[in-house]
Symmetry: C2
Subunit: 288 residues, 2 copies
């Protein structure tokens, strides 16, 4: 049971966690904090929060659980603001898509890694954003990855795990570095390909006509290129090491493919396509 | 009105055209032709064809319209087989995803480009294949691109246009080279990225775990990597010139992106992502 939950950043991610914990009767009071007043007023109106403030320091005062769900670029500023206002027993966790940068931001702001900070990443979301898009079931059967460090207090980890399970999520733990590699492979790289593909076409002279002939498959394939550019800039900068390594791997693969196409090497192409299809079909099956 | 329609290759594409024309009462008799006997028997059972044969030469005898819907790698063989059996007034059209190679195959088989050959490409399909997946509405409001050549008989072009319109499609004409460039950009390149991405991940040591954490977005993004490897090998070889040019363009884009990430150049990343998002959103709107 959480007595006072502070949500710093009351959008889809933060708002949905508040709603889920409320629905489960697992939280006493919810304090919302954010920069945009209209969004906070909407959160109050929707019953997602009980009170709100625009000052993170005020929001965390008296809170036993703090969930920081702000863009990666704003993490360090939030940590610096709340640092001297946290209750000694307060647990801080976050929802950032990159964990190495959040850990570095925390060390930068706190001087050392706080034992009651539990870095986390709920793998969930929709195409919509803002508190109006939030709903209590967002985390049902979705994965939440927690990346505790050797310094992390086991009791804090257990409480954050329980919180996410109460929200309906499946919680897994892995190292910070491994999280950032897995996400670079399965999320950050695909987003780069979608942005890169659409931008390549947009820069072609006849781009209007080209987009006109793009069929349904193209639409699905590039959907993620409609994601928030600022969020993705932050993710790329924050995870540049792991993402650069993935881009290099992918570059080697595409050079091989391009060479095989240029030389009309049908055997090699068939081998690549068949291996990819087998992996995709195997993954599809296992994900069912 | 088509008196006798020969469908060479009675799968999703060929079967759906037969069904659509039948439903519109626009065809007298449909002769199916293919290599797999069970599929032809199924086509007869489903009422998609009136008769069938495994010999293309027999199928085209007496037909006034012939639709060749075989894999690109089989086009030339079909053209060679039917060459001496076509009625002088018979019209031949096809459904190949690459038009330059079909034209070259026709010239190779016929010695010269037959005036009553109208190269075409219906931009339609589903994830399923075979005659059982065919349905009369597949082409409703879908684009069909015809690529007539200077040698093409205008009356043959008009009849093929009318046939596709009867099936519910929107018909556009463009040059062979332009078709192959547009499709390289909007279909062939995206498929290469999907195959390349899945194969890159499949080749990583921890691939099972990586696929386990791939969320919904990844699933959508890589769906097209489940496409038929043989069909895609044929498309890559047939359209290698235009596809190689697109892969090179995309490679330049990704090198730029990778450099910006490596140097944490947030401004440049934001510019690329914002331009891509704007193009994607504009395209989405215009496609509605």
């Amino acid at each position: 049971m959480i007595k006072r939950l502070a949500i710093i950043g009351v959008g889809l991610i933060g708002g949905s966690l508040a709603r889920a914990l409320r629905a489960a009767g697992a939280v006493g009071e919810v304090v919302g904090c954010g920069r945009a007043l209209p969004n906070l007023e909407k959160a109050l109106e929707l019953g997602v929060v009980d009170t709100f403030t625009q000052d993170p320091a005020e929001a965390v005062a008296g809170a036993d659980m703090i969930f920081v769900a702000v863009p990666l670029g704003a993490m360090r500023g939030v940590f610096e603001t709340i640092r001297d206002h946290l209750h000694p027993q307060a647990i801080v966790t976050d929802g950032g898509s990159v964990k190495g940068s959040v850990v570095m931001d925390a060390i930068g702001a706190f001087g050392t890694l706080p034992p009651r900070l539990v870095p986390g990443h709920p793998i969930a979301g929709t195409e919509h954003s803002g508190v109006e898009a939030s709903f209590a079931e967002l985390y049902h059967h979705r994965r939440v990855i927690l990346t505790p460090l050797p310094e992390t207090d086991p009791e804090a980890l257990a409480r954050v795990t329980a919180m996410w399970e109460t929200a309906g999520a499946d919680v897994t733990c892995m190292s910070v570095a491994h999280h950032d590699e897995v996400l670079a492979a399965t999320s950050h790289l695909p987003h780069m390909l979608a942005f890169g593909l659409v931008d390549t076409l947009a820069r072609m002279r006849e781009n209007d006509e080209i987009f006109r002939y793009a069929a349904g498959g193209f639409r699905d394939f590039t959907r993620i290129a409609s994601s928030n550019p600022v969020m993705w800039r932050d993710i790329c900068v924050a995870n540049r090491e792991a993402l650069s390594a993935m881009l290099a791997r992918f570059g080697v693969e595409m050079t091989d493919l391009a060479e095989s196409i240029r030389h009309a090497d049908g055997e090699r192409l068939l081998e690549i396509f068949a291996r990819a299809k087998a992996a995709r079909d195997r993954y599809l099956d296992s994900a069912r």
